[in-house]
Every structure is written in C-alpha cells, then in structure tokens.
Symmetry: C2
Subunit: 546 residues, 2 copies
C-alpha cells in the first residue's frame, strides 16, 4: 500500500482525521439548541478488537498470497459502505456480512487472476474503489448462491499513466482517489475538476461505475461526460473502447459501463477529458426572501446558456443548518470560472436575472477575480466548508444519535413545485411520526435547462437503539414519494442494494431484461456484484403491451 | 398520408423539387471546368414504370389492408437509401431488394399489430423514418433467414403531442420530419434546433436511432443530448423511460436506444429538450492562409468554454467547391446565438483567438445582431446555401457521372495532423488509381475540447458503368485508414450495413456480445432490422484476455 495513512474501518477518511470529542460535543450542543433537545450524548466509535467477524469461507491459494488479505481491519473496512444505515450498524459493531477475502491487485494481470479464481470458486466479486457508497453498492450481501465473497479493492491501481496536453486528456487507473488524481495532474496544468462530496475517499472507477456528479452544477455534471474511452475486465476478458472525442457508431459502449455498478466487470482505467486549471473566477451568494422566486431565478439561469460552474440554491433551512444564513432567506450561489476569459459579461447577466427575481445581490459581486483563492468568501464560503467536511460531520451526528440522512433526485421544472411539496410533506410526516420532530432541508445540487436535481437532508433526533427503524421509515416515505411523483430514485448516489425497490419501479421492465442479458454475455456465471441493479437470475420481466 | 407532395422514389426530396435540367447542366459545366473534363452528359432519372421489382413474397391479411401497401412506387421508394451507391443503383434501375410490403401504421396499436404479424410470418421489419440513410440502414437486405421484409414507415406518426413551455420540452411522435416538427413548435416560441443536412427528409425517430448530429457544432452536437425520455415498441412489448432532466440510476436506458438503428425495436415517440428561438446572433467568416493555423484556432476555441453554436472550418478545397472562397484560404465560420443575452463578449474573445492564429477577420464581425436573418452574409452564407441544398446537388453530380461521396469521423487533437495526412493520402491514392484525378476536401463538421469531427468530400470523374466499383475502392481505402489511424467509422452517419466491416474492427468484441444479448431479450426472434450493427446469430465473439 502506498498510502501513508490507514483508512478507518468505521467512519469517514483516515485514522486520526475527523472531529475530536470536543468538536463532536460542540456540534451536539448546537444541534440540541436548534432542535430543542435536552441531552445529546456521544457514542464512542467501535474498536477493531471488539467486533465479531464471521470466519472467512474462502482460502486463497499460496500463489496469490500477495494479492489477498484476511486481515480483520481490511475485512471490517470492506464490510459496509458509508450510508446512514451502514454507519449506525458499524457504530454498534454489527458487521454481519464481511467479505471473506479482500483482494488488492497490483495490476490488471492480478485482477484477471482474481476474477478467474473467483469464477472457479463460485465466489462473488465486489469491485471496491473508495468505499464511499451510500447505496449499499459495496456491501457483501449477495444471497446464498455463492461460496463466499471477495471485495476487490483497486487502491493499488492509482496512477495517471499518460497525459495528452494537446487534447487535454489523460489515461488514468481506476483505483486512484480524488486527491491523488489531482496531485498527479497538477504538474501538467490540468485538472479533472470532478469534486463530488466524497472526493477525498472515492475513486475514478467508482465515479464512472456509479455515474457520480461533481463540480459542475450545470452542463457537464456527471462523470459520464468526461469519459473519452475506458477499459474494463470482465469474467470473459477485456473490453476496451476507443479514445474518441465523439462517435455515432452504434449505442455508446462507454455509456453501458457508466452506471454499471460493478455488475458487468471491473473498470481498470479510463481516458478522461480534463480541464485547464481556471484563472478567472466570479461568484456571488444571492439572497431571496422567497424560495419560489429563487427557483425561478435558477430556472432562468439554467435556460440562459450562461452555463455557470456553480448554481446551487439552498432553501432557508439548508442555509441555516450549514451556517450560511440565519434561516430567513434562501441562498443562491452562482459562480463562473474560466481558464480563457474574464467573466464579467457572464456574471453581469446572471446577476441581472437574479435581480429581476427580487434577489439581493452583494456589492461588487460581478467582478472577475484572477487570484488563486478557490473558495468564495462570505455565505458561499461557509457553505463550501460545510460541504467539504460532510463525511466527518455525518459520522459525528450519528455518534450523537441523530437520524441524519440525505436523498436526492431530479425532476422537470413544470412538476417541481408539486413534487417538492409532496416530497417534503411525506418526509416530514414520517419524520414526525418516528422521531417526533426534526428538520428537512433542500438544496439544488445541479440544475438543467429542463429541471433541477433537488437534494434533501433530514436531521432528526433518534431513539437510541431504534435509529435504523426510524431511518428506514423516513427513507421509505421519501423514496415512495420521489417515485410516485415522477422523479428518479437517484441523480448521483447510484442504485446499489438500498435503492433497488424503487429503481425497479423507475426502470422499464424490458430494460432490466436487456441489461440482464448483457450481463449474461460478459459475466456468464453471475459473479460480479450480484444483487446490485437487478437480481442475477435470468428470468424475463412481464412488460405491458401498450 | 397528410403530406401534400409525394416523396421521390429516386433521389432527394419531393417530386418536382431539385435542380432542373438546365441547372444540372450548369453544374456539369462548372465541374468540367474545375476538373478539366471534356464532356459531362446528364443521365435521366429512372421512371417508375420502367424498373423491375420482385413480386411481394408476403400477403397482408385483409384486416390490415389500411396499414400495408404493395404499391410499386412505395416499394421502390423503400428499396434504397440515399448513399452514393444507392443513388447510382437506383439511377440504373437496380432495385434488387425492395421490401415485400410497406407498412404505414396510423398509431402505436398499428405498430404493435405489424410487429406481431411479422413475428408470426417470420418477416424482417425495417423501421423507416425519412429514408435518408447513407449507410444502408434502411435497405431490405436481411439474408435468407426470413420469409420476407416489411419496411415500417412511420410518416403518419408525425405530431407534436404535448408541449411543456416551462421546462422547454415536448413529447413528439417519431415519424415527424424536420420541417413539420419545427412548424409545430414555432407557435410555442420553441425549437429543437436540430438541423442535420438531411433535415428536410429525416425524422425524429431516425435521428435518435442513428445518433444524428445537428445544428450545434460544439457542446451538444448529437441528438442524444436532447432526449429527455423515450418510448419504443419492441417485439416483446413497450419500453418507456421516465421524463427526467438527468439521472444516475444505472446505465441510461435512453442511451441504449440512441444509435440502436432499429435492431431493438421501433422508437415511437420521445420527450425532447427544446430551445427558445434565438434573438441574438453574432457570426464571422474568418480566413486563414494556413490550414494548420486554422486547426489550432479551432482547438483553442473548442477548449475555451465559449461554446459557439457554429465553428465550422472549411479547408481550401472545401471553400472552393462550395463557392465560399477562391481556394487560397481556409475558412472558419464562427457564430454564437442566444435567446437570452448579447454576444459581444463571446464573439470578441473568439475573434481574439482567431487573430492570435493569424486569422483575417472581416470588419464589424463582432457585432451582435438582433434581426431575424438566420443566414450570415458573405462567405458563410454561401457555404450555408450549399449545405442546405446538399441532397439535391448530390443527385445532380450522380446524374453527371461523378463519383461524389462523403465520409466523416472523429479523432483527438493530438493525433489529428498525422491522421488527416494519412486519410487524405490513402483516399487520394485510391481516387487517382480508379478515377485518374479528382478532389478530396475536408471540413470540421463539429469540434470538441478533445478533438474535431472531420468530414471529407470526394469529387472525381466516374467511368460510366463502373462508378460503383470506383466508389467502393475509394470508400474502402478511406475507411481502412480511418480505422487503422484510430478514428471512428462514423461520427453521425451511423453504421447501417455499409459500415459494418469497419465498425466490427472499432467496436470491442465483448460489447458486440452484450448488445446481441440485449437484442435477444427484446427481439427474441431477431426480426428487427437484421444485419445492421451486428449479425443476428447469437454466437459469442472471442475477446483477447489482456
């Protein structure tokens, strides 16, 4: 392992990082005050020596000893993702489905060897990048049809292999995590500029396999847009697509792998489209007394063709929770960036749009900056800090016994008002029923000409010992209403195992059949991440005729 | 049929349209002068009464008499596409593979009835939109495994069914042709703004099925980007995707149908993302003495984040042929358009980029216009007129005995110079060998941050009677070199039957297996457009291991 620090087996990030006890207690006091709670005590994180792990059911051959690990820490680390439910279970020592083995292949030949050995053993294989899944995408729950499960961790495939500064692209190994990727690109003056909230602990391959959404709030939001070509190892062999700026030759093979969540094979590397590092920046945090007016401003900006890099709308509650406002106004953070040109004209027009929707624009907001400060000051800066620390804050709220989860979707503008009211109503109702009280906030994570991608956060006091049931009730109410009202079950958190019930209602049944068949062609034994996206059994759905 | 005019069974457009004999002769004189030819005579188009058509091998049931046609004109019209080879064969009365029946369904129920009947009869079904395929995508050549072939013409499904002006989207039936689609959207102030060269004679469903590329030369070029949701009828039933601005829930079902070329089912309607009609326009035609400098200007603009609506580079020969220049300079047409804002800042920066690459910019080019003139004046206007009349001009050059074809591709910037030299060299060599002389020109049809989509035109004197062999030799040399040098066999002309040989080399073998399997799930009897994209037989390819 080339990593200097060990990754936590429970919680976000590396050992030693995150909030210390004093900070967690301070957060607890703040939450107690907002939610008017009497006592908020802090649970200790689990200790590796105290958790019970099932014995490995698989025994690696001596010849592959350098690839496989049966280490307790490794197995615990790969037993759960980072969803609310995962973290609560981990906190209470419930590691019921650890992988039997964790594989750390050093190169593609090792990946091939692992896939072959697993095929021979009838072992399921779960491709593992940074382990940041909040959808159960990496949890070794595969049913009874396998002799065991191997978590295939790609962290050793972490290099930028080739850089093309002319076309601005690079060939990158799939296991690299965000910070190392950016560090390797920096000497070339280039950046992938893909900053999902999980950036620190998520990998290129994971981003592609889950259709991650990153830095850009408009235009090119999903990682899909930046894949120029890719290479995947399937149980039947290698599949490599051409490196092309665009093609119209049949359905896109890259797009089949974007969102494939490990069920077709292991993405080992990709040619990615890069950006020059921005030199010009302009940004403003604009207040709106009315959320509805702010929504209209967002819609107008998203349809303007200005393509801001950021266009994030926080509702009043979200602004309050993130300490970006006092809760009296919705906050719209609009920013532009460029490596090529000053942004005065872009920002001036965006501000004009906000003003015409009664937005309160701070003085001097339209000025293009050319300094290297990445974070805008003021309310936008507060929000950004809060966003970047999200993983650590989530660990802390869970230790404080909160029911604290997020869910996200996308919907067209014409349906948004009714959709939003319905989602809030059913989520709040469930939350009140199971938690007594709490907050549900909303932000627009991304906006498109035809609709926003709203992102909801639930923060409610849990009852110690029954947080999982409380969470499940809220999650179910929220998800049911997302799907019933025409949204998608996920804009960028992926399907995994947790979203299956609702994904099955969203996805056309015949598309499920087509995907199952495609999987059958690449993974005939069905060993790749079974249970994710669809059940591996090759039965056909019954579509309606018309 | 609601169409006022009958479509030609040979050649482009409607009966009565196109160049008259005097105009064809004038074009012949012009070509004779450019290519230094002695005599250029004009062949007459074929007459419907004089061509031989095989008897229909299928007999429609009386109950479906209103759907099916066995009319000679209809069958001849659906026997060939609009490629060079199609037009030459048609001109000489070679209609060897007419469909046995042409179906004109009135609604989805009719489409279902046709698919069911064809399944029962073991008849192949070829979905047919505007019939403009230049890749053999609609030609009823399906091998010996079928009792007959039905061409399924969607022209009666031609309505804009629902318009959402808030999200700027509309639900549109797949059979509508470009002009009628735009006419129906105009009262709502909206436009799809998808103008492939085939616009007049191509359909929404055809655009989606072939990944057509349209008006926008940067950013959102392919129709794929504008599909919000779609509905397809497969032999196993209906597949309908949700109307969403974006989603991350598994691989995109819409993307599976984009480029599916009729092999999975019939696209019957789609929710499409629309644009407000532009009010601001700025454009300039910039001359470059050096093609290489012009390429660098294109690359810089494509990487600038300015996103021009047009950024078409014509090399010296292309400028000459299209009467947009005298052949001494390459011509770059850059234009911006917006419904929201003045474009002075955008155009000023694009011009600055061009000047820094020694481009000669006309006076006053950076001014934003707000009048309704769609076409820029001057050289850019000449080029546009030539482009719009492309179909009719192609008919005329074929009647004049020219070998006149186009091929197109995409490649990354780092490889472009070598690629372009190689493609020109092998194309010219083949052309000289079989035609003695001729012109090969190039334009950039589209440009992306990581590479251009070059479009090549061949114009050479054919030998009467052996034009097809001459064409095939040039096409083979060009295509071989596109694929050998790392390009794609098609950026927007689709694969069909003609590009299969090279597509098979471009496409990863395991992706072919996955697609064949997906087809098997939707079209178990394999009746949908067999022979396009892949052979229908369900054998697995042999991929390499690493």
């Amino acid at each position: 392992m080339s990593e200097p620090k060990r990754r936590k087996f429970w919680g976000w990030g590396y050992v030693g990082d995150g909030l210390d006890l004093i900070e967690v207690q301070a957060l607890g006091s703040a939450l107690a005050s907002v939610l008017n709670l009497a006592d908020v005590s802090v649970a200790d994180p689990p200790r590796i020596g105290e958790i019970a792990l099932r014995k490995p059911r698989l025994q690696p051959p001596d010849s592959m000893a350098e690839i496989f690990s049966t280490d307790r820490w490794d197995r615990a680390e790969h037993a759960l993702g980072k969803s609310y439910d995962d973290l609560v279970r981990g906190l209470h020592g419930q590691y019921e489905h650890p992988p039997d083995l964790v594989a750390f292949p050093r190169d593609e030949a090792d990946v091939v060897a692992v896939l072959e050995w697993c095929g021979d053993q009838n072992a399921a294989v779960i491709p593992y990048g940074g382990g940041s899944s909040v959808a159960g995408g990496v949890e070794p729950v595969v049913g009874d049809g396998y002799r065991g499960v191997v978590s295939l961790d790609l962290r050793r495939l972490d290099r930028v292999v080739e850089v093309d500064t002319i076309s601005r692209a690079a060939r990158i190994q799939a296991g690299v995590l965000g910070p190392s990727l950016e560090e390797q690109l920096r000497p070339h003056g280039l950046t992938l500029r893909h900053f999902p909230q999980s950036f620190e602990m998520s990998s290129l391959g994971g981003w592609i396999a889950t259709r991650s959404a990153g830095h850009y709030a408009t235009l090119h939001t999903h990682i899909d847009e930046f894949v120029e070509g890719l290479r995947a190892l399937t149980p039947r062999g290698v599949l490599e697509t051409r490196r092309l700026p665009a093609s119209g030759a049949g359905p896109s093979p890259d797009r089949l792998f974007c969102g494939s969540e490990g069920v077709l094979g292991v993405i080992t590397e990709a040619w990615m489209r890069l950006q020059e590092r921005p030199r010009y920046r302009a940004s403003a945090a604009i207040e709106f007394a009315s959320f509805e007016e702010a929504v209209e401003a967002c819609r107008t900006i998203s349809q303007s063709g200005l393509h801001p890099a950021n266009c994030r709308l926080l509702d009043q509650t979200e602004a309050l929770i993130s300490a970006s406002g006092d809760g009296s106004a919705a906050l719209l953070i609009v920013s532009f960036e460029s490596a090529d040109h000053s942004l005065d004209a872009w920002m001036a027009r965006a501000i004009e749009i906000c003003r015409s929707h009664s937005g309160k624009v701070p003085e001097g907001a339209q000025r293009t900056r050319t300094d290297e400060t990445p974070a805008p000051e003021g309310a936008g800066g507060h929000w950004r800090n809060w966003f970047v620390r999200g993983g650590h804050l989530h660990d802390a709220t869970i230790r404080l016994g909160m029911v604290n989860d997020t869910f996200e979707t996308a919907i067209t503008w014409d349906r948004f008002a009714q959709f939003h009211a319905g989602v809030l109503e059913s989520t709040r109702r469930a939350m009140k029923e199971v938690c007594g009280q709490g907050l549900v906030s909303c932000r627009f994570a991304y906006v498109y000409p035809d609709g926003p991608a709203p992102y909801y956060t639930v923060m409610a006091p849990g009852k110690r010992g029954s947080e999982r049931e409380q969470w499940a009730a809220i999650k179910e109410a929220a998800s049911d209403s997302l799907i019933a009202l025409g949204g998608t079950i996920t804009h960028h958190h992926a399907v995994g195992r947790y979203h299956r019930r609702w994904y099955d209602r969203e996805r056309p049944p015949l598309f499920a059949d087509a995907m199952r068949a495609a999987k059958g062609a690449l993974d005939p034994a069905g060993i790749m991440n079974p249970g994710v996206l669809f059940d591996p059994v090759q039965t056909l759905e019954s579509p309606s005729r018309l």
